[in-house]
């Protein structure tokens, strides 16, 4: 962790080592900053888990309440990510391929979930989707309750995840060479076939990346969900909420055990998405 890390030595290139000043200083600052603000805080989770021991960890991490929370979190996040995969692709397509009035407003609006604080999104969505809210009132007569049910949780998670898919797919769609579509057309493919067989495979890696980012965001989301979920243990309590309620009872070990399970879960998802992405990229070439 000393600032005097050896700089890259590559004798074959003329740029052997940096002649620029301040590298040691900035590197030292960067390492210290990361050490104190990222590495040490995150390592506490694993130290705490180690102190629990394997038995203690399993006991804390696999209570029926915790299992119900994982199931709900994963289920709602997967559903939300898939919905975003479909609509994110549609929005990205429309924004890159067509001209229409209000396009730049629509384009800016895509980033709203990034810019709107989650607590504000949470209270706004709850108001909209509760039984006498603007949207909730449309569904209530049909016996469909959205707010305070798993459906409401999925709605909130879909809201916050949309930009990830759009912003992953959009740049790829923009740079997709028009020629491949022309070739497909001259070979007699109709538009749908061209989309399915030519465009979609080329977009697949970006789409997978966007969907998995959307999932990763959803699985850890708290602010926009806490209001709409109703927080009933075992029924509408997602994992981040369970961590929160453990913390409120000063049960730090229980909170840590669940947090570690969540981190491992999202690591597994992100890694497998990475592998899937690579496979899709290979197939697209």
């Amino acid at each position: 962790m000393t600032p005097a890390l050896p700089r890259r030595v590559a004798p074959s290139t003329p740029r052997v080592r940096s002649v620029l000043p301040g590298v040691r200083l900035t590197l030292g600052f960067t390492l210290a900053y990361l050490l104190f603000l990222v590495i040490i805080p995150l390592s506490t989770l694993f130290v705490r888990t180690a102190r629990l021991g394997w038995g203690g960890f399993l006991e804390a991490a696999t209570t029926p309440r915790a299992i119900a929370a994982y199931r709900l979190s994963v289920g709602a996040s997967v559903t939300a990510a898939l919905v975003n995969g479909v609509f994110g692709l549609l929005v990205a397509w429309v924004l890159t391929r067509y001209r229409f009035t209000g396009k730049s407003i629509a384009d800016a609006l895509v980033d709203l979930p990034f810019a709107l604080p989650t607590a504000v999104a949470g209270v706004a969505l709850t108001t909209l989707y509760s039984q006498n809210g603007l949207i909730g009132a449309l569904f209530a007569p049909h016996g469909i309750k959205i707010a305070f049910t798993p459906l409401g949780i999925t709605v909130a998670l879909t809201f916050i995840g949309l930009p990830f898919v759009v912003r992953s797919v959009q740049p790829v769609l923009e740079t997709l060479p028009k020629e491949i579509e022309e070739v497909a057309a001259t070979l007699g493919a109709d538009r749908w076939q061209t989309f399915r067989r030519v465009i979609l495979p080329a977009l697949a890696p970006a789409l997978v990346a966007g969907v998995s980012l959307s999932f990763a965001r959803a699985i850890g989301e708290y602010g926009s969900v806490v209001f709409i979920s109703g927080n009933m243990p075992g029924r509408t309590e997602i994992a981040p909420l369970l961590i929160m309620s453990k913390l409120e009872q000063y049960d730090y070990s229980g909170a840590t055990a669940i947090a570690v399970v969540m981190l491992l879960l999202s690591a597994v998802i992100l890694i497998s998405a990475g592998l899937l992405q690579r496979r899709a990229a290979k197939r697209a070439v």
Binding site: Y33, L116, P117, V123, P240, A259
Partner: protein
């Protein structure tokens, strides 16, 4: 909308012959008018119902009981305290993360240090961690049962449930935003200009101020805008470490939660409207900066291509 395609002859300014009259066709690489109309309609309906409506409802609810009630709610001392705290926290967290972003980008891209992939991954890590878990880690450090808990208590220092903890948690969750904009940008720009400045005898600070900064200013500003929006809006992490002590550690998002849970909807949405306005300003700034940012980037790529050829 189908495209009106003029036959090749007309495009070259040759007057159309008898058979070459202008006709409307659906191009082979475009969709039919109906398909386009349906796709655009669906996408816009989805965007405005799903994203636009929540934004609208914030202002609608805030103004439901009239403008008078709205401004009365905004003048509440607790709300003003929460607003000041939010500004203070962002005012500390954002500059620190700007310093970090600049230092990390300089070391990684200009210094070409070994293991830079690991540094980039570490700097991105807070984005992959749930805000609640981020808050938890700081409680495991500074809470009563935390690593430093007993030591802090012995020295009569309180960090958990104070503004300090709120600032630390905010720094953690907003740490990646500036760095992840600057690192790819400065990577693309390379080191030739800075090296030229060195040979001309410029000092480190001069190089940064006169050479690097003008090249990265739009990207930097873009990162600052995103970092600030997140810093002012952070909820989960701050919720954990603040202890939600009303009028002391409650930032604006936390104050919204308190008001909402007390069924004081006018006040909750009045407070929300402030953050919603911040979001709108952020979106506008982001949109404008993206243009400058992209223009600058395109210019850079063009310059590099010219230099190579």
């Amino acid at each position: 909308m189908s495209t009106t395609i003029a036959p090749p002859a007309a495009r070259h300014g040759i007057p159309p012959g008898p058979r070459a009259k202008r006709h409307t066709v659906t191009t082979a690489t475009g969709e039919s008018a109906t398909a386009r109309w349906i796709l655009i309609g669906t996408a816009l309906a989805y965007l405005f119902l799903f994203l636009g409506l929540p934004l609208f409802v914030v202002f609608e609810e805030a103004l439901k009981k009239g403008v008078g009630a709205y401004f009365t709610a905004l003048r509440d001392p607790e709300l003003l305290h929460a607003l000041r705290l939010t500004l203070l926290v962002a005012g500390i967290a954002v500059p620190l993360n700007v310093m970090f972003g600049l230092a990390a980008a300089w070391a990684i891209t200009k210094g070409r240090v070994r293991g830079h992939a690991l540094l980039v991954a570490l700097a991105d890590l807070p984005l992959a961690v749930s805000p609640v878990i981020a808050g938890l880690t700081f409680m495991l450090l500074f809470g009563m049962q935390g690593w430093f808990g007993p030591w802090l208590k012995a020295h009569d220092i309180q960090i958990a449930f104070t503004v300090t903890a709120v600032v630390l948690a905010t720094i953690f969750v907003t740490l990646p935003f500036v760095a992840r904009e600057l690192i790819p940008l400065m990577e693309e720009q390379g080191v030739t200009e800075e090296e030229a400045a060195v040979t001309l005898g410029a000092s480190g600070w001069q190089i940064f101020r006169r050479v690097t900064l003008p090249n990265i200013r739009w990207g930097l500003l873009y990162g600052v805008v995103l970092c600030n929006a997140r810093a002012m809006g952070e909820f989960g992490a701050v919720s954990v470490v603040s202890g939600r002590i009303r009028g002391q550690t409650t930032t604006l998002p936390l104050h919204i939660e308190i008001l909402y849970n007390e069924y004081d909807f006018t006040a909750a949405f009045a407070a929300s409207s402030l953050l919603a306005m911040l979001a709108v300003v952020t979106l506008a700034a982001k949109h404008l900066l993206e243009r400058s940012h992209h223009a600058a980037r395109a210019r850079l790529i063009q310059e590099q291509q010219e230099r190579q050829s």
